[in-house]
Amino acid sequence: MSAWPQSIARVIRRSERPAAATEETPAALEPAPAAPAAPVVQIPPHDPLVAYFQSAPGAVDLAGLELDSPALEELRAAGVRLAVPLVSQGELVGLLNLGPRLSDQDYSTDDRKLLNSLAAQAAPALQVAQLVRRQEAEARSRERIEQELRVATLIQQNFLPKQLPDLPGWHVSAYYRPAREVGGDFYDFVELPEGQIGLVIGDVTDKGVPAAMVMAATRSVLRASAQRVVSPGEVLSRVNELMCPDMPAKMFVTCLYGVLEPSTGRFRFANAGHNLPYVRTAEGTIELRATGMPLGLLPGIVYEETEAVLEPGQVMLLHSDGVAEAHSAESEMFGFPRLLDVVGSRQDKAEVIDRVLTELDRFTPQGWEQEDDITLVALTRTGGAAAAPATLDVSFTIPSEQGNERAASERVAEAVESLGLEPARLERLKTAVSEAVMNAIEHGNQSNPELPVEIGIRREGRELLVRITDQGGEREIPEAETPDLEAKLEGLQKPRGWGLFLIKNMVDDLRVTTDGVHHIAELVMRLEGEDDGGD
């Protein structure tokens, strides 16, 4: 009875002037436009009159009817004497209501027969008409929904990144496929100072335009906050504060935000209730854990911050619910463990996103209508010497005491660890640094512990520069010559004098300059992994 027509009965008021006999015919049936203005009587679906009419064998005299029914009273008040139920396929689709006959006599048996046979034919026709109307209304509402979906898709796609960031030493890929009823998935890359990059993945509860609007707002607020604050936890806290007052009821946003330092692989992140990132390492696949409340639920949330380092060869996958919550034909869920397995599988060399999609395709039934948006963002650290970190700028000083050169060279080795120099080249660099620092201590600073040796490590494009500065600018630095080993072995020359020669042969270039006060020895190591001229 839920599809009960809005007005089930229209009552014909008796006309003042003598009416033609046709006035008492079904011409009065809704929605006949010819009907004179008659009060519309609404019969609520639970009124006992409905059940009574539905099972009545034909025309019903309202006068003799004893039913506790407000609708019955209304009909009587409207002057209806006889009601002929229009029943089609067991459903009461309307009533044919008649007032008193003009003669004021009761309706005859013939009248009733005629009315009953009329009703038997009118009822199916009326039902068809009602169905057509309902379908038209549904089509209109479907069209409106489709239109809304188009708008939602448009908003969504406008706010997703148009291109992927170009991170030297990294391979970045992203995939987004909306469900038919567009969900609120989003991802973003935010350029940050010093070559760092902010990674965002999120999901707004709800679907369609409202979700798309909240997604667009979240993205904008997050971008603005990320430019102002460095700490990912603080960024999420700020976004949460800003979103809370305006968040529509029953909506919230899960979101993971992290800052990646491409040069070192350092990834600091905080999580507002989103799925945990998966990282494939040589030892297996791990989850990067950080928890926190979704955005927009409660103000004053503090987000825990976690740090991980993505090593060369490792892959990180950020993902939305659409994958793990996909169902098979047997209603089994894809699930996080399966996703974790796919990320970790090394059976084929295909990119992780392709592998996830292939596996998902295999898992879901043919012609599967995607249940939720699917968003995947993968970062692979291709690493090694190809990694071209944007920033590396470390400097420190040591006192001019013999033996400190080794400590200095170890510190340099640590500082450049992220560049992934080949072990042999790292050893050469260590030797070169150690020799240059020893020269600075002994010659430049005359082993005076009061005088510092300054060591600066910087990356410029494809070159690693280690600059060793002492305070002996007025002293001349000899040219690096190839020592005459034979003469030394013969005792014709002192055995010493290997320092500069070694340095020159260990690194790709050695630039020695002075500003009158300081000596500066700049060691250059190219990062492309070419052979150096040392051999």
């Binding site: 050469r428 010493r496 290997w498 020669f501 070694l502």
Partner: protein, 110 residues
């Protein structure tokens, strides 16, 4: 990374004087290395074992050059073994390996 103090111990292996070196071959090693060499008593072959050496700097190279000069003057052959790859490279660059036999870990000439 604490620097290991240099030590040199002399022994013989099949008629070869072996000097086992430990720690850092740098300026501080001079005295001990010369003393050790003096104990080789003119054996025909002096074998320097670098297996326990973790660092050689240019002063260390100079010490080895000095020792090699003395040994050549005394008609001794000098061999080296246990050198880490990086130092083998340095011995090649400095051409020390042209004047002494570099043995691999199995004792074979490289």
């Amino acid at each position: 990374m604490a620097a290991t103090e240099f030590a040199a111990r002399v022994g013989t292996e099949d008629g070869v004087a072996v000097i086992d070196l430990t720690g850092e071959v740098s300026a501080a090693a001079e005295q001990k290395l010369l003393e050790a060499y003096a104990q080789t008593n003119g054996e025909a072959v002096v074998l320097l074992d670098f297996s326990a050496v973790d660092y050689i700097n240019s002063t260390g190279i100079a010490l080895i050059v000095g020792l090699l000069g003395q040994a050549r003057a005394a008609g001794q052959e000098v061999q080296a073994r246990g050198l880490a790859e990086h130092y083998r490279e340095i011995f090649r660059i400095t051409r020390l390996s042209d004047f002494m036999t570099i043995l691999d870990d199995a004792g074979e000439e490289t």
